[in-house]
């Protein structure tokens, strides 16, 4: 009997997983019941596992280490191997295989975001520190998110902090691909990236997306490379005086914890410290923040497809609460969160800024 089946059998059906699940109650997704069905080897409706956003709350709160979110990945893997998956996910996976990004954009344009800069970023192999800024697919291609790598590059440059990029050699990190259940494709991406890291002697990786950080830290095995999120690096630079925040920012800003940065990797303080270091900025908190932050529903492959059920999305709830608390804007440090929050925010006249966008206005 394998380890995973053993783990499932130890489930005591306490329901803490469903209690913490951002999809429970309003969609047909019931994680406790799915584990029960797995225990008895009952059939599971094909559409159900795709609701999971991979926020990880169930796994963090499970008292028996059943790792329900990993069980979901296994259920999805079975569907992937069977070839029966939602069409839009199929497209995202096929595009990732061909172009190394789920949007199917040309790999040769992966470095296009650098064209907006008035300075050149060297290839990581040409840097002294062998410090890599890992851009991530959505930030390399999506017009809304392309400003994030450009901003962070400007910020690091301002602090005289050396870094390089991989340009078109960078491949999708595979965090979402693994969570969609395509373990074979994940292995290929991992191998391609790891080979590049080795070849160019990368010693340190700074990621822009918490999703990339998560996978490099926890799922790439022992690479010997120090991985951090850019908010950790920027906070260090502010603390040691390399970055001087000059501007005033007379705004009430509410910070949304991305699941892959906060609850899954414990980075709660650095983004808040950065925001608190800005003169005039008043930092607000959601009722559900830090460890219990409400997932925006952009993870676990949910960026690439829509579930069938109509229900009030968490991003909508988040925006409503931000307005209720009197926030002038919502900020976060994850491109997926930016994308999911911005739709309902625009509709309701609320502003969403990625943390680096605020920083650029005050540096």
């Amino acid at each position: 009997m394998n380890v995973q089946v053993n783990r499932i059998l130890t489930c005591i059906q306490c329901g803490k997983c469903t209690g913490s699940c951002p999809e429970a109650g309003k969609t047909p997704f019931n994680i406790r019941m799915l584990i029960r069905k797995k225990q008895f080897q009952y059939a599971i409706e094909e559409g159900i596992p795709w609701y999971c956003t991979s926020c990880g709350a169930c796994t963090l709160r499970c008292p028996r280490d059943v790792k329900p979110s990993e069980v979901i990945i296994d259920m999805r893997s079975a569907l992937v191997e069977d070839g029966q998956i939602p069409l839009s996910l199929q497209k995202a996976l096929e595009d990732t295989f061909v172009q190394k990004n789920p949007w199917g954009r040309s790999r040769s344009k992966r470095g296009a975001w650098t064209e907006k800069l008035d300075f050149e970023i060297p290839h990581v192999s040409e840097t002294k520190e062998k410090r890599l800024l890992f851009v991530c697919c959505i930030q390399a291609y999506d017009p809304r998110c392309m400003v994030i790598p450009a901003n962070v590059a400007r910020i690091l440059k301002k602090a005289d902090f050396e870094f390089g990029i991989l340009g078109e050699e960078e491949a999708c990190c595979g965090n979402e691909i693994r969570r969609i259940g395509e373990s074979g494709l994940f292995e290929e991406l991992q191998e391609e990236n790891t080979t590049n890291f080795k070849e160019y002697g990368v010693k340190e990786i700074i990621t822009l997306s918490p999703h990339c950080m998560n996978v490099f830290k926890k799922e790439y095995g022992d690479t010997g490379i120090n991985v951090s999120h850019y908010t950790e690096v920027v906070w260090e630079l502010i603390k040691n005086g390399a970055l001087d925040i000059k501007g005033q920012y007379e705004k009430k800003v509410i910070y949304h914890d991305p699941c892959f940065l906060g609850k899954q990797n414990g980075i709660f303080d650095q983004p808040r410290n950065i925001l608190s270091a800005i003169n005039g900025l008043q930092l607000l908190e959601f009722s559900r923040s830090r460890e219990i932050s409400l997932c925006c529903e952009g993870g676990g492959g949910r960026m690439f497809f829509e579930v069938e059920t109509t229900y009030q999305r968490n991003a909508d709830l988040r925006v409503l609460e931000a307005i209720e608390r009197g926030a002038d804007m919502i900020t976060t440090a994850c491109p997926f969160c930016v994308m999911t929050l911005e739709d309902p925010a625009t509709e309701k006249g609320q502003v969403v800024k990625e943390l680096s966008e605020i920083l650029m206005e005050v540096l």
């Binding site: 070839g83 996976l93 074979g184 494709l185």
Partner: protein
């Protein structure tokens, strides 16, 4: 029913800016990613579904370089029994030459079939004629743009062809035959990387194209690759966002898109 299905590895050009090299004799494919021809993906799926329904086997055939083994493994992962690669030394574009090569191969190797499926066309050359020429050489019936197979009998098929204006034509086609499969006939299953890896264990036979070149002349000579002429017609709007929005609204009203 025993089915042969042709599948081709093509460059993924949708998102790329293609470059013509030198004096127009060649397109730069060096940096392009490759994939299975979209129409062939539907053809393979259809072949597998027919075989699942009627019994019999499906064999995938690819004409191309050694790398084309990739699309054979993919087809096997989808449920095809085995694969033949007809390895060419240089890119073979001419559809008559490709069809003649396939014809010579089928005859010389004495490969039996009830039906041959091809995609309607390939994404790269877009001649949409290899299937038809092959059927003529084999002297068997041919049906193009097949969008549905309704009935499979011992000696014939009843199928639907896609016509202009949203119409379909129902036709009875005597077996053996060649069909070119239109995209949208089915929803091809997802092929996982694990599936493709497992398929590597299934034998694919490699044949050299030079052994089947009898009467294989090219009827079309590519004189030159050229970029399409630049056309006018684009209007650039300028000004503040609100002003631009008003202009856009004005234009779509004027063109009758929005009343």
């Amino acid at each position: 029913m025993n089915i042969l299905v042709f599948t081709k590895r093509v460059p993924a050009t949708q998102e790329e800016e293609l470059r013509i090299l030198g004096d127009g004799k060649e397109v730069d494919l060096s940096k392009l990613p490759f994939k299975v021809n979209d129409w062939d993906n539907y053809a393979v799926e259809e072949a597998v579904r027919i075989a699942e329904k009627t019994g019999g086997t499906v064999t995938a055939i690819s004409i191309g370089d050694a790398e084309s083994d990739e699309v054979l493994r993919r087809a096997i992962a989808m449920g095809v029994k085995d694969g033949f690669l007809i390895e060419v030394e240089k890119v073979l574009q001419d559809p008559y030459a490709r069809a003649m090569l396939a014809y010579n191969f089928l005859k010389k190797e004495n490969i039996p079939f009830d039906t041959i499926l091809t995609g309607v066309q390939s994404e790269d050359d877009q001649f949409a004629s290899v299937g038809g020429i092959l059927a003529a050489l084999l002297k068997v019936p041919y049906s193009s743009m097949v969008i549905g197979i309704d009935n499979i009998d011992k000696d014939h098929l009843v199928l639907r062809r896609e016509l202009e204006g949203g119409l379909q034509e129902r036709a009875k086609v005597i077996l053996p035959c060649v069909l070119s499969i239109q995209s949208g006939i089915n929803e091809p299953r997802y092929v996982s990387i694990m599936g493709v890896r497992k398929a590597s264990k299934v034998e694919r036979k490699i044949f050299k194209a030079k052994d089947y070149e009898e009467n294989m002349s090219s009827l079309i000579e590519v004189v030159k690759w050229v970029y399409p002429p630049k056309k006018g017609g684009a209007t650039m709007l300028s000004g503040e966002l609100e002003e631009i929005c008003k202009q856009i609204l004005g234009i779509i009203k004027e063109k009758g898109v929005y009343q």
